[in-house]
Symmetry: C2
Subunit: 471 residues, 2 copies
């Protein structure tokens, strides 16, 4: 009766089920405009529920405007409820691809070794943060980020890179990607143009491309950005990685740094310095940030993803002062602020120098892995390979002279269980770096590295043979 | 000698201090291009440091390209280091304003009572999350959000609002503001246009305005958006709060909901449903989301800020399927993903129904506070006030007939220690709601409410007198 069946096993209350069935009938026209609903007594009896349950269901229908009640008259269906015939919504929701089958050789880039992350220590500093957070910081704390974290970052920048920074110039972000996203919005103009190192991290500049920026590539050699290729015909923010060029690995020399700053001043634009992994320099101190040379012209982006773990999502930006009030407004309307607990945990991790100790430990480990990679490459490729760049970071660009890794290489390798990216993939203008592969080694044990390089050797041999045959 | 003084009390290593002093001299021209640096032996002696320390400082200068060494010759300063005279960077970094002196009456909106947040329970679920997080989720987990949290949200939407949602259609965000920010980017066109309830949360639509959207206001009455004012001359995404209109408080009736969906279908556009506080409905069930009526046309934005705490920064969006692949790409290039630990903590909080219990407890508390506000208003204003909207949420729009709260009111009240916002502040077209104030009461104890209303009464009396005198 009334086409209503209740399912008492559901996690949905009976009144809501009654409401839903009646509502559906109104929406599809079974219960027409002006029709009276059954009396609550009658429906309660039919459905074996209390009259109160039916009353509450009717109250929901009335409150949401599906039905109207008038003193002494039955509750009736209102008009105007019928939708146009909905288009068949055949779209499927996005399905995650099947998980990548585990690779035989997985030289992906940008991944620290998560197995080494000191989880227990992180748990302890997190618990401290959870217990000690002042109540008011559960409310809105402002777009700049937790003061105690900014103080610890300033102290760390001083002791690790000799950089003197006012905590007022530090802005916490939800990671380096968000920092770039905010910078892209911050510097946006009517016809936005930017300059980027070529090759560069091609994923990172997508953020700018998505926002309509035209990208002018500036070539890179073994020492980073070739500043003599800069021209005032193309002015705009310049995205650079001066401490450890991604992907070729150079440290930008001081004279080029000075030229870059002079160029930015002449353009009236800014340099975006992405310092994505300079903590890991294996012979010598981390290179000094470009920011030190011109705090008014350089937007410095720092990250903790490579030292701690990528999912942490905390980065920071040193923002030139004349951009700071716009930055605050922008962050407020983007996502308000970072959550406080992880900021406080990280501040404690820095304050107690557990951060420094973790870096020191990992540096030793990564240096050994880098050596294992060099040894394996020497063993497998003899004289036919050459490393690029400074001894730093978690990946290495390797030149294999005489071999051209074309567009198909990456996918072919993937199908053979090998993950490595040709430098060409990260190039804006194609054709200049076809003989180089990028090998991320930070997350791999020495044995995994050795084995991986052997698989790569086999695959490259086959690849070269096939390509020679096809010529 | 050499103008170098070392400070052994600093947290900066001696080699870095030497490097910095020499670098500064090169940058300012004291040490000129081609000049030889002192021999390491000589400098080490002068500074009373080991020769190794000086060697390391020189290595830094060479690695960063400030100096060059050639076999058998002294290390010399390179050329091209001098910057143009830097403009005096007189800009000060942004200073936080002095903290708001505590208000006599603080009826700010959008703030739950943080004193009531079950911190101990949250600590426990957080600790569980910290201990049990699988290692791979410390890496990149994808833009959609933690699967276990999406499952718990789906279960909760079913039991609390009768909404059946596929977990594949749920996208976690860093709060509702970020959700709007992403939606604004998602629906962006060359000449973006949107429609908004008028009045509406004027802060929220700033996100669209910042991105260049033209905003067409659609008037609101006591029942929410006046759909008969919609016209096909102005098509675009429509921002609405159908469960509890902000700020006037109406529940959008079913017939208007159907009209709104029909309009969006005809426009080929989307309805943006901001469900910012529907959990707190004091007499009856939460209103059913508009999303239930047309999952292909409604982008539903849910938040946990009002139930838990604003700094949590976790929200979720029900994304129509044809927008999902763009959404994923967009989120990836915006800030990659939410951090995992808080997501897992919230999932556990939902799974154990601590969330439901917290809502039930707070609902009782907020209902009492709402009653205290009604009582106080009755006591102070007799018949000269009228409440607007449904009994829901954490704020109340109050009409004071015959009084016009003009632009100066908010600031004047603030200076007198009273925080309350005229509805006019949230109006796009001014002049239609000058007789209404918005009072946020959720965060106040009944005593604070009573006292606050007395202060408001005094202030309004003075305000009216002054305005009468000036006429």
């Amino acid at each position: 009766m009334w086409g209503i069946e209740l399912d008492r096993s559901l996690d949905v209350s009976l009144k809501r089920q009654i409401y839903q069935k009646l509502r559906d009938q109104m929406m599809n026209g079974t219960l027409k405009e002006g029709s009276p609903l059954p009396s609550t007594r009658e429906l309660a009896q039919t459905l074996s529920v209390s009259r109160n349950t039916v009353n509450e269901a009717y109250d929901m229908l009335i409150a949401e405007g599906y039905a109207q009640s008038r003193q002494g008259a039955p509750t009736r269906v209102v008009g105007g409820l019928i939708l146009d015939q909905a288009k068949q919504n055949a779209a499927q929701h996005h399905q995650e691809g099947a998980p990548a089958s585990s690779f035989l050789a997985d030289f992906k880039t940008g991944q620290p070794d998560l197995r080494q992350f000191p989880r227990y220590v992180w748990q302890r500093v997190s618990q401290k943060a959870l217990g000690e957070m002042p109540m008011e910081l559960l409310g809105y704390g402002g777009p700049q980020g937790l003061a105690q974290l900014r103080e610890e970052i300033a102290a760390w920048l001083l002791r690790s890179k000799g950089l003197t920074v006012d905590t007022g110039d530090i802005y916490i972000t939800a990671g380096a990607t968000q920092a770039l996203h905010l910078v892209a919005d911050l510097l946006h103009t009517d016809h936005p143009e930017m300059l980027a190192e070529d090759p560069c991290n091609i994923e990172m500049i997508q953020t700018f491309i998505h926002k309509g920026y035209t990208v002018t590539p500036v070539p890179v050699d073994g020492h980073g950005l070739q500043t003599d290729a800069l021209s005032l015909d193309h002015c705009g923010p310049i995205y650079v990685t001066p401490s450890h060029q991604f992907p070729l690995g150079g440290i930008l020399p001081a004279a080029r740094r000075a030229a870059l700053i002079r160029f930015a001043r002449r353009c009236g634009s800014y340099v975006i310095e992405d310092d994505y992994d300079s903590e890991y320099r294996y012979y010598g101190e981390p290179a000094t940030p470009l920011y030190a040379m011109a705090p008014d012209r350089v937007i410095y982006i720092g990250t903790f993803s490579k030292v701690l773990f990528p999912a942490l999502r905390i980065g920071y930006v040193l923002v030139p002062r004349e951009l700071q009030s716009r930055w605050r407004r922008l962050r407020t309307y983007t996502d308000v602020q970072n959550p406080p607990f992880e900021q406080a945990a990280l501040a404690e991790f820095l304050r107690t120098r557990k951060f420094d100790r973790h870096i020191a430990r990992m540096k030793k480990l990564y240096r050994e892995r880098r050596q294992a990679l060099f040894d394996a490459l020497g063993e497998c490729f003899g004289e036919r390979w050459r490393p690029w760049g400074d001894a730093a970071g978690l990946q290495l660009a390797v030149e294999f002279s005489g071999i051209a890794f074309d567009d198909s290489f990456r996918e072919q390798a993937r199908r053979s269980g090998i993950r490595t990216v040709p430098v060409e993939y990260h190039s804006i203008r194609k054709g200049r770096h076809t003989d180089k592969l990028l090998l991320g080694y930070g997350h791999l044990e020495p044995d995994e590295i050795r084995l991986g390089v052997h698989y790569i050797q086999q695959f490259i041999n086959d690849y070269v043979q096939e390509h020679t045959l096809h010529r």
